[in-house]
C-alpha cells in the first residue's frame, strides 16, 4: 500500500468511526496519518496501538474501534462510499510528506472540523397511549391561578440561580475583605520605593458550578409534574453547565437547550421533554436508575465542582442496598447533593418511602418542595458557599 493509499484508507476508516458515533476530528486523522509513517505497518497490532493513541480513542469507544479496525485493517473490507471533503484536507499533508502539519494547515483544519458530533437522533414521536398534557390538566397544580404559576416560575428561577452559583477555591483580586495578596502588595511597594503603603487582597471567586439534575417522572410524582418541568426549564435558562436526566423505570439523558425558551412557555418545553422520556408516569426503579447514572455518567459529569440535585419522592420498590451504593458513589464525587421532595408536607403523602430513608445520609440538603411557601423558605436558606 502506497503512502497515498494509506492516507485514503485511513480517511475511510475515520469516516466509518464517525459513522459509528466515535468522535474523530480531522486533526486526529492527520495525527493518525503521521503516526502510521512512524510504525511498522506489517505489524497489525502496532498499527492498531498507534491508531488508538493518535486518534485519541476513549475507553468507551474502544469496542467500536476494535470492530471497525478488524474490518478495515485485517479483513480489508472498505465501504465504497466516503466523503470527498475529507480527502481535500488530508491530501496536502500526505503529498508534501511533511512530518507535521504546518501551522497553517492545522489552523484551517480546526476551522473546518465539525465542532461537535452530529446531534443525537431525535427520538421518534411520543409514546402511544399517553399524553402528558392530559395528565397535567388533572393535577392540583393546574388549579393554581396563572398568577400563582408565574410566582412558582419566578421562585424556581431564583432557586436555579442560587444552585448555579458556587464559591471557587481560586482567589482573585478584590477591593473588599480577603487574604493579603503579597504579589500585588509588594509590586505596589516596589513601585513606591519599597514603601508598603497598601495591602492588596484576594478573595474566593463566585463561579458557576456544574449542575446535574435528576428528575423523577414516575407515576407517584404525577401531581408534581408541572413543578418538575418548570424546574427543568428554569435551570435550562440560567445555568451555564447543566445536565438534565429524567428517570422512572429507566434513566434518560435529556437534550439541554441552553438559554432557549422564555418564561411562560411551559407547553413547548413539556412536549419536548415528554418526547424524550419513555414511560413518563410509569413505575419507579429509583435505585437502579441512580446506579445506572453512576455507572454511565458519574465519571465524566460529576466532580468536586458539581452540585447534584435529585427531585423525587423517594418511593422505591427495589433493593435499598442498590440505592445506598449509588447515593454513596454520587456523594463521594459531588460537591453537594441536594434532594428536593415535592411530596413531603403534602397531607396525602404517606411517609413510607424506604428509598428516601436509605438515601438521606448521603444528602447535604433535603427540602420539601410541595408548595410555593416551602420553596421560598428553601431558597432563602441556601447560602452561596
Amino acid at each position: 500500500m502506497s503512502e497515498r493509499d494509506l492516507v485514503v484508507h485511513l480517511a475511510r476508516f475515520a469516516g466509518a468511526l464517525r459513522a459509528g458515533g466515535v468522535r474523530v476530528s480531522l486533526s486526529d486523522e492527520i495525527d493518525g496519518a503521521i503516526a502510521l509513517t512512524l510504525v511498522d505497518l506489517l505489524d497489525r497490532d502496532e498499527v492498531r496501538r498507534a491508531l488508538l493513541v493518535s486518534l485519541r480513542i476513549r475507553p468507551g469507544d474502544r469496542a467500536t474501534f476494535e470492530e471497525l479496525f478488524h474490518r478495515f485493517w485485517i479483513e480489508g473490507v472498505v465501504s465504497p462510499h466516503h466523503p470527498a471533503a475529507m480527502m481535500r484536507v488530508v491530501e496536502p499533508v500526505g503529498a508534501a510528506g511533511a512530518p507535521r502539519p504546518s501551522p497553517v494547515v492545522s489552523a484551517r483544519v480546526s476551522e473546518n472540523s465539525p465542532a461537535s458530533r452530529q446531534d443525537e437522533p431525535e427520538p421518534e414521536g411520543g409514546i402511544p397511549g399517553y399524553s402528558p398534557e392530559a395528565l397535567l390538566r388533572k393535577k392540583p397544580f393546574d388549579e393554581c391561578t396563572p398568577e400563582e404559576l408565574e410566582e412558582m416560575e419566578r421562585l424556581l428561577a431564583s432557586l436555579s440561580v442560587k444552585l448555579a452559583t458556587r464559591k471557587s477555591r481560586r482567589l482573585a483580586p478584590t477591593r473588599g475583605p480577603g487574604v493579603v495578596d503579597l504579589r500585588r502588595s509588594f509590586r505596589r511597594a516596589v513601585g513606591a520605593g519599597g514603601e508598603l503603603r497598601w495591602l492588596a487582597r484576594r478573595a474566593r471567586v463566585v463561579e458557576r458550578p456544574n449542575l446535574v439534575v435528576l428528575c423523577d417522572t414516575s407515576g407517584s410524582m404525577d401531581t408534581h409534574a408541572q413543578f418538575v418541568l418548570a424546574f427543568m426549564l428554569s435551570l435550562e435558562r440560567v445555568a451555564k453547565r447543566v445536565e438534565l436526566f429524567a428517570f422512572n423505570t429507566s434513566l434518560t439523558r435529556l437534550t439541554v437547550r441552553r438559554g432557549k425558551g422564555r418564561r411562560g412557555e411551559m407547553g413547548g418545553g413539556l412536549a419536548r421533554f415528554a418526547a424524550e422520556v419513555p414511560d413518563w408516569s410509569g413505575g419507579t426503579r429509583l435505585g437502579e436508575c441512580l446506579a445506572d447514572f453512576v455507572e454511565r455518567y458519574a465519571a465524566p459529569l460529576v466532580d468536586s465542582k458539581t452540585t447534584v440535585v435529585i427531585v423525587s419522592d423517594g418511593l422505591d420498590r427495589g433493593d435499598p442496598e442498590i440505592l445506598i451504593r449509588a447515593m454513596r458513589a454520587i456523594r463521594s464525587r459531588a460537591w453537594k447533593v441536594i434532594w428536593l421532595n415535592p411530596l413531603l408536607g403534602d397531607p396525602r403523602y404517606q411517609p413510607l418511602a424506604r428509598g428516601m430513608e436509605a438515601a438521606l445520609p448521603f444528602v447535604d440538603r433535603f427540602a420539601p418542595a410541595h408548595n410555593l411557601e416551602s420553596l421560598e423558605r428553601f431558597i432563602t436558606r441556601l447560602e452561596v458557599a
Binding site: D40, A50, V53, R56, P59, R170, R183, F186, P300
Partner: protein, 297 residues
Amino acid sequence: MRPEIRALQEALAGEGYIAEPAIATALFLAQEMNKPLLIEGDAGVGKTDVAKVLARVLGTELIRLQCYEGLDVNTALYEWNYQRQLLRLRIAERDGQDPSQLEDLIFGREYLLERPLLRAITRREGPAVLLVDEIDRADDGFEAFLLEVLSDFQVTIPELGTIKAEHVPYVVLTSNRTREIGDAVRRRCLYLDIPHPSLEKEVRIIRTKVPGVSERLADQIARFVQALRGRRLARSPGVAETIDWAQALTRLHQDRLDPETVRETLGCLVKDRRDIDELSDAELSALVAQTAEAAAG
C-alpha cells in the same frame, strides 16, 4: 514491532517498569511527533510512573507540576522574589540611589523564581520530562492557560519579555477522569488509556517490585487482587496497593495466602472502611480458596 519501540519497551523494563506494547508505542509516538501525551486511567494504575521512568530512560530531569483546584499562574509559571527586590531597594536607598532607576535591575532574571512550567522551558541541558499530574483537578481556566504554554512553548513575562523554550520538553499529562478534559487539550495531545493490568502483567510487576516474593505467592496475590477488582468496590485497589500488600506479606514471611493474614493485612489493599466492612470473613475465605485453586491449576 518496530525495533525502536521494542528498544524503548526494554529500556522501560530495565528501569523496573513493565510496559505493555501499547504504552511503549504511545511514548515512542509522543517523542517522535513532538506532542504531549495525555494518560487517563484509574488511580494506582501507574500513570505517574510512566513519566518518572521516561525521565530515567532518557537520562533527564523530571519536572513535576501537581495540579489542584485553585492552582494559579504564580504557582505554575513564575513569581518575583519580592523579598529580594525590596532588600535591593533598601540598599539602594541607603546608598542614596534613585529607586526608579533600579527597575531594570530588580526585574532581572536573578530576581525571578522559576516554577515548574518555566523551569521546563528554560532548562539548558536538554529537554526535560514535564509531568503535569492530575490535570483533571485544576480548573478549566488553568487548562486554557496550559494549552497556551503547550502550543508554542513560550512564555511572556511583562517585565522581561518573551522567553522561548531552549528545548521543547517531553510532556506527560495525567488524569484520573474525575472530570472530562477539554477537547482543546485532548486534541493537542496523544492519548493513552491505561487499564488495570492483566493477570500476567500484575504477576510480573509484583515479582519485579518485591524481590523476596515467591512465585506462588505473587500469583496468588495477583489473582486475589484481580478478583477484588471484579467485585466493584467503592475504591478498587490499584497496582500500587498490590505492591504494598505483597511487601507486607513478604515481611510477614508468608508464602501463601490464608484467610486470617488476608483479613489482618487487608488495609494495605482496600482503603475504604465500608469496603472492608462489606467483605465478610466467609467471602474472604472463599476468595482465598478460589485463588489458591486457580493458582494450583
